[in-house]
């Protein structure tokens, strides 16, 4: 019998990095569902496509760095990065936008600093910021929510993402457009009468626009909290009036 010499504690919990990351992924589900409900399968496609690119990039880079790529992939951190980024991108964003964003996040946000745990900034937000500065038009081209326009099916979605420009029916007037072009009506009347501001689709628009106007800093800290707040805010007309929107 040989004696093993290790230091305390000898017992350890069941925690794994992968289980922490898995929990984060589960926590994004409600937000993803809301986005999908309003905007159709675009967000889901973002997440799946971005995830594939991210995993492939992470695999290649860790292999190049002489680490075990399977260990790097299995901690699921790369899926958290790509999912957070892809939620923040507009649904039906062109494929190259997703590719550039994900590559930036994985390469410049994470791997150049030494990979998991050594990144000074949130890699997903690094990718997001680079995209927003470089491609403001594509980054602000949010589709119309359900209720104002037809939400595209899967086929249309794929065509829109991978062959951008072939479909142009998914954008419509936004509430901000409505306010800009409004000349006679009081805000209260607009709020109760215009289809863009009422009902299912209108609320969806509020959520997106309000989130961008008011809670962007929060989004950096916690995308889910930010979506939840946006949702609450959009359902409260008094809050809206208080902020003169």
């Amino acid at each position: 019998m040989s004696l093993l010499r290790v230091t305390s504690p000898h017992a350890s919990g069941q925690g794994q990095v992968s289980s922490v990351m898995r929990d984060v992924l589960i926590a994004t589900l409600p937000g993803v569902l809301i986005l999908t409900a309003y905007f159709g399968p675009g967000t889901l496609l973002n997440i799946v496509f971005g995830g594939l690119i991210a995993v492939a990039t992470e695999y290649a880079i860790t292999a190049l760095r002489g680490r075990d790529p399977r260990v790097a992939i299995s901690d699921l951190s790369i899926l958290v990065t790509s999912t957070l980024l892809c939620i923040a991108l507009p649904p039906y964003a062109p494929w190259w936008l997703i590719v550039i964003g994900v590559l930036t996040a994985v390469l410049l946000g994470k791997q150049v600093f030494g990979g998991l745990g050594y990144n000074p900034f949130n890699p997903a937000m690094v990718g997001y910021v680079v995209l927003l500065i470089s491609f403001p038009v594509q980054m602000s081209a949010w589709a119309s929510p359900r209720g104002l326009a037809e939400v595209p099916g899967l086929g249309d979605t794929l065509r829109h993402v991978f062959a951008p420009g072939t479909i142009d029916a998914v954008t419509a007037a936004t509430p901000l457009d409505l306010l800009r072009q409004n000349t006679g009506l009081l805000f209260e009347d607009l709020l109760t009468n215009s289809p863009e501001l009422t009902g299912w689709g209108g609320i969806g628009w509020f959520e997106v626009n309000l989130a961008f106007l008011r809670w962007r800093p929060l989004a950096v800290v916690s995308p889910d909290l930010y979506l939840a707040c946006a949702h609450r805010y959009a359902r409260c007309p008094r809050c809206l009036r208080a902020h003169r929107i």
Binding site: M1, R5, S12
Partner: protein, 509 residues
């Protein structure tokens, strides 16, 4: 009813306490050879007063205390001293220490002891002296000399004696067993300690996962018809830390760097209270203790009363250790115990548990992954520290920041490492950092000393030079004044004399 407070953090590891059947106490056989380290306590080692070849009786003093921070060592059975030499001891360092080795004769003859039943009429100082002479050091794990703890000094009046029956660490049931089997002695021992300290109240705290111990102690309190409060509180690791149980039961926090006596509390282990009772009422020194033998690698896990100095291997054999290949033997519990490096090392006053887990029971940790700053460690820390920050600063060897973040308030309970999803051995980093800080403090003291020495020498040399100068100046002044008085100059006269001598030599070659 006492308000039970909650402490920050804490964890709930699997308890595994039923494995060693708490409450069922057996006697371990007297081993053929007893190895008694002269330091089984915190402080100065005891000085051997027996020689090789001496025959000794059970209870006889083998080594005397040296100074205040020291306690004597007694023979746990009769036999012959066969060696006084350096032997491996059960210590985290794996180092050896001086031990008195006794070959037992199997007769187990004992000295006759004289106890004091009327301890209430005795002066506390004589009782403290008896406790010191009985070799009692804290049986909870630190081995702090009890007599020192019982002398907090006039500036620290003690209100409460707290008996810490938490035993929060998984697997260990030695205190549980002791409270079940020696409840009456425990209550009387607590009274003796409170009498010594002139404490107003006695409080026994037991975690609520020990219903049998709670019932037995409650019964003993009613039997004794005395005013002792028994408080139970929810099970959580590490509620049994001294500072933690004080906060749980009183809501007060022991100041950082302070001791419980600073807030009027003295906290003792139940084993210490029972040992005190035996030392005072029976006059019996501390020669045995209860040890939990547990772990799935043992076929017969149990609690035993064992002679101090029994080699670990004997006890493991007694509990039917069956292994081949690699085995971890842990002295203490799975959270704070250390791996034993030599099975011939003996158990001492601080050995509450020997744990022999299988590889599936307590698997070795996976390789550490990078810290992902999840913050679970900060949620688990019972001392409200920031383990993650401490980890980064420990890696950077930033001693200033480590002090700023209160590294020395860390009790090394291991809760942070337990919850770490990256399996980082955090406690190891903190221990290393503490060691480095102690080293550099010692280094600083040494360099301060040598600087002072150098400066003192410089000052002395300067003073000597100045004194010489003063003397010379005085001589010169004296000569000048003499010249002025006599109208002659001694130097000029000397020159004249020399010239005259030279002229004389030239005249008579």
């Amino acid at each position: 009813m006492r308000t039970i407070h909650d402490i920050h953090g804490g964890i709930h590891p699997p308890e595994r306490k039923a494995l060693s059947r708490p409450g069922d106490l057996q006697n371990a056989p007297i081993p053929p050879v007893l190895v008694l380290p002269v330091r089984q306590h915190l402080g100065v080692p005891a000085l051997p007063i027996v020689a090789v070849g001496d025959t000794v009786l059970g209870g006889q003093v083998l080594a005397e205390a040296q100074g205040v921070m020291s306690v004597p060592v007694h023979a746990p059975s009769s036999g012959t001293v066969v060696a006084i030499e350096s032997r491996p001891i059960a210590h985290a360092s794996g180092l050896a220490d001086q031990c008195i080795v006794i070959q037992t004769d199997g007769e187990d003859h004992w000295l006759a002891f004289e106890g004091v039943t009327s301890w209430r009429e005795r002066d506390p100082a004589t009782l403290v002296e008896r406790i010191r002479e009985a070799g009692i050091a804290g049986l909870g794990g630190a081995g702090f000399p009890t007599a020192v703890k019982l002398s907090p000094g006039p500036t620290r009046p003690i209100e409460t004696l707290l008996v810490n029956g938490t035993e929060c660490e998984p697997y260990i049931t030695a205190d549980d067993t002791l409270m079940q089997c020696r409840a009456d002695e425990l209550v009387e021992g607590a009274h003796i300690l409170a009498h010594i300290l002139s404490a107003d109240s006695i409080l026994i705290g037991i975690e609520d996962n020990k219903p049998d111990a709670i019932a037995r102690v409650q019964a003993a309190i009613s039997r004794a018809g005395v005013d002792v409060e028994l408080a139970t509180f929810p099970t959580k690791y590490p509620s049994g830390g001294e500072k933690q149980i004080i906060e749980i039961l009183t809501g007060q926090q022991v100041p950082s760097g302070g001791i419980p006596a600073d807030i009027g509390i003295v906290c003792v282990n139940p084993g210490t209270a029972v040992a005190t009772q035996q030392a005072i009422v029976d006059g019996k020194p501390l020669t045995h203790r209860i040890v939990t033998l547990t772990g799935e690698a043992l076929a017969a896990p149990q609690n035993v009363t064992a002679c101090l100095g029994t080699p670990i291997t004997q006890l493991l054999e007694h509990a039917e250790l069956s292994v081949d290949g690699q085995q971890r033997i842990i002295h203490g519990g799975p959270m704070m115990g250390f791996a034993v490096s030599d099975l011939n090392a003996p158990i001492t006053k601080i050995t509450n548990c020997l744990l022999a887990p299988t590889a599936t029971e307590l698997p070795l940790p996976d390789p550490a992954q990078p810290c992902i700053r999840c913050g679970h460690c900060a949620e688990a820390c019972p001392a409200s520290l920031l383990p993650q920050q401490l980890y980064w600063y420990a890696r950077a060897k930033d001693q200033e920041q480590l002090a700023e973040h209160r590294l020395f308030d860390c009790i090394e309970c291991g809760a942070c490492a337990y919850v770490c999803p990256s399996q980082i051995p955090l406690v190891q980093y903190y221990r290393a950092a503490k060691g480095q800080i102690r080293d550099s403090e010692q280094e600083k003291r040494r360099s301060d000393n040598s600087r002072e020495r150098f400066e003192a020498r410089q000052a002395r040399l300067e003073a000597e030079t100045a004194a010489r100068e003063a003397k010379r100046a005085a001589r010169k002044a004296a000569a000048q004044s003499q010249a002025a008085e006599n109208g002659s100059d001694p130097i000029q006269e000397a020159i004249e004399r020399a010239k005259a001598r030279k002229a004389e030599q030239e005249a008579n070659p």
